[in-house]
Amino acid sequence: MKPFVKTVSIITPLDKVNVDTDQIIPKQFLKLIQKSGFGKFLFFNWRYDENEQLKPDFVLNDSKYSNSEILVAGDNFGCGSSREHAVWALQDYGFKVIIAPSFADIFFSNCFKNGILPISLEQSMVEKLQSVSTNVEVDLENQTIKFNDELVSFNIDPHKKKILLEGLDDIAQTNHYEEKISEFEKNSKIPSVL
């Protein structure tokens, strides 16, 4: 996994609550068997009209946001389906940081597996950020967001922080606990399926 350390970018404000993973990546694009190439389908039904032309009024289609790496959205972002394709689409499109007042649990955990940093901030701070039009710096090492003259700090679990900063392979990490896993299996009462 690619590490995430820091980004400086303008913010894409997505002024919607309860953005579900069906909106982030509609089901017709879940049939691919690889992880790449989902970016062009991100927010498909909001981005394109019935003739697959870009809808001018959707924020991602405004050229001033085309290089943005930070998405700031409303409450309960990523609810619904567990599809990791949603995170693959955001990442492939170019987003590295997603800020919202809250995230759905599975989506939140999927982000860390793909080098995306999800940050929960208070509603009022999220709204403030949505109106910032200059560059914003998100620094994971120091857990800070810098914009204009303001410096805001955010929380992150130290284990997850380390995984993102170093781009660690989760499975390789877990394999260090091989002995404990085997021990657990030896004592388990639960029989095999077959």
Binding site: Q23, N76, S81, S82, D105, D157, D170, I181
Partner: protein, 471 residues
């Protein structure tokens, strides 16, 4: 201090225990399907890794299988590739697959319990958010992403921050158990606590209104825990649970000795503490109909479509959400729910496509015809459910009424197969999500129970099933 049921299952599965950071949890059952697994197997191959416990892993295909004649080739090339890929992966890694021609094929959350693979006190994961369904058996069951699928395949464990315990208590019995179903209970709960109300928690459903339910009804409740944002939902096992699992095809040989252990162990201690609580009275619940674009946007069948102001209770963002929802759903505030006309009816999905759901719906359908302007279909949750329903003659009841009677799969719950709504079509659906475009781009979904969906099919609009006289 005592422990909640969830805390007991959690504690008995921690391989590495941490408190402020994620613990390493052992997984007893891993269910696989075609959509969220290909990239996981690819990851294993790239790193030359094996599946650690193929004997704890079971696969089926459900999300994009066609529900017409199984002998026909799959026309959608990408679906066909995904299905072939699952066959190859199961073959290469030694995983038991209930494939397209298996009598056990079906929606993964329907076949797990009906085969006796789902067991109380176990941890169960699947790359699908509705894995919470299995919680009905007193299991800790939850959906995971594809990277986590890969992690479980390789290590049979998962890193997880311990969620909090949330008690939802349904007191008393329903006044009319035929018309007010488990679906109405869970929709009513989500309406009250909201789609984010359970975030960061595992819900335990308790009270007479829950223990009163059959196993299949309990599955409907736990299934939609994710729609309230919860990581999982569970119900303490009782005699009904054990009886349901006895003598299934994959029920373990030492089942009775496990039952003895489960009976003692799998319940919330009286001196334990939940971090959150919500109480609902069963006899106050009416049949529910969703009017908006998330499951929290739901009201009683006797009510009118609310105004964004009434719905949002002063929250500006929720108000905006409701306005957008009404626009998408093409509904006016104040319209009586029972005047909303529908074009399609879908009885199916991991929420409501078990035998009991089909039996109950057939009671409404029997001797009637689907309204002329409505196209209605029944998609049994598994091939076994289909067979059992046919043995009871339910297929004939539905077909005589002009319902389509299909093969098993997820079908129009998420429209990955050819069963989809056309833009603008309005559907009474027994599924779990009314998100924009979920059942087809531009399609409009109203979530209801199987009996409410059946009645809507006959009348062409929503009706209060409490008022129906049955043939």
């Amino acid at each position: 201090m005592g422990k909640t049921l969830f805390e007991k299952i959690w504690d008995s599965h921690t391989v590495v225990e941490n408190h402020s950071s994620p613990s390493l949890l052992y997984i007893d059952r891993h269910l696989i399907h075609e959509v969220t697994s290909p990239q996981a197997f690819e990851g294993l191959r790239m790193n030359n890794r094996k599946v650690r416990r193929p004997d704890l892993t079971i696969a089926t295909m459900d999300h994009n299988v066609p529900t017409n004649d199984r002998k026909l080739p799959i026309l959608d090339e990408t679906s066909a590739i995904q299905i072939k890929t699952l066959e190859k992966n199961c073959n290469d890694f030694g995983i038991k697959l209930f494939g397209m021609d298996s009598p056990n094929q079906g929606i993964v959350h329907v076949i797990g319990p009906q085969l006796g693979i789902t067991l109380p006190g176990t941890t169960i994961v699947c790359g699908d958010s509705h894995t919470s369904t299995h919680g009905a058996f007193g299991a800790l069951a939850f959906g995971i992403g594809t990277s986590e699928v890969e992690h479980v395949l390789a290590t049979q464990t998962l890193w997880l921050q311990q969620p909090k315990s949330f008690e939802i208590r349904v007191e008393g019995k329903r006044a009319n158990p035929f018309a007010v179903t488990a679906k109405d209970i869970i929709l009513s709960i989500i309406k009250h606590i909201g789609t984010g109300g359970g975030t960061g928690t595992v819900i335990e459903y308790r009270g007479e209104g829950i223990s009163d339910l059959s196993m299949e009804q309990r599955m409907t409740i736990c299934n939609m825990s994710i729609e309230a944002g919860a990581r999982a939902g569970l119900i303490a096992p009782d005699e009904k649970t054990f009886e349901y699992l006895r003598n299934r095809e994959y029920t373990p040989k030492n089942f009775e000795s496990l039952v003895d252990f489960w009976k003692d162990d799998l319940k919330t201690d009286t001196d334990s503490k939940f971090s959150k609580q919500f109480i609902l009275k069963a006899n106050e619940i009416a049949p529910q109909v969703s009017w908006g674009t998330n499951p929290g946007m739901t009201c009683d069948v006797t009510e009118n479509v609310p105004s964004p102001d009434d719905f949002s209770k002063g929250d500006a963002n929720q108000k905006k959400g409701a306005e957008k929802a009404l626009e998408y759903m093409d509904l006016e505030s104040g319209t009586p729910i029972q005047e909303i006309k529908i074009d399609r009816v879908f009885i199916g999905s991991c929420t409501n496509a078990r035998l009991e759901d089909l039996i109950e719906a057939s009671k409404v359908v029997k001797g009637n015809k689907v309204s002329q302007n409505v196209r209605a279909m029944v998609v049994p949750g598994s091939q076994l459910v289909k067979k059992q329903a046919e043995e009871l003659g339910l297929d004939k009841i539905f077909i005589d009424a002009n319902f389509e009677w299909r093969e098993a799969g997820c079908s129009m719950c998420l429209g990955m197969n050819p069963d989809i709504l056309s833009p603008g079509e309005r559907c009474a659906s027994t599924s779990n999500r009314n998100f924009e475009g979920r059942q087809g781009n531009g399609g409009r979904t109203h979530l209801v129970s199987p009996v409410m969906a059946a009645a809507a099919a006959i009348y062409g609009h929503f009706v209060d099933v409490r008022k129906l006289s049955l043939n």
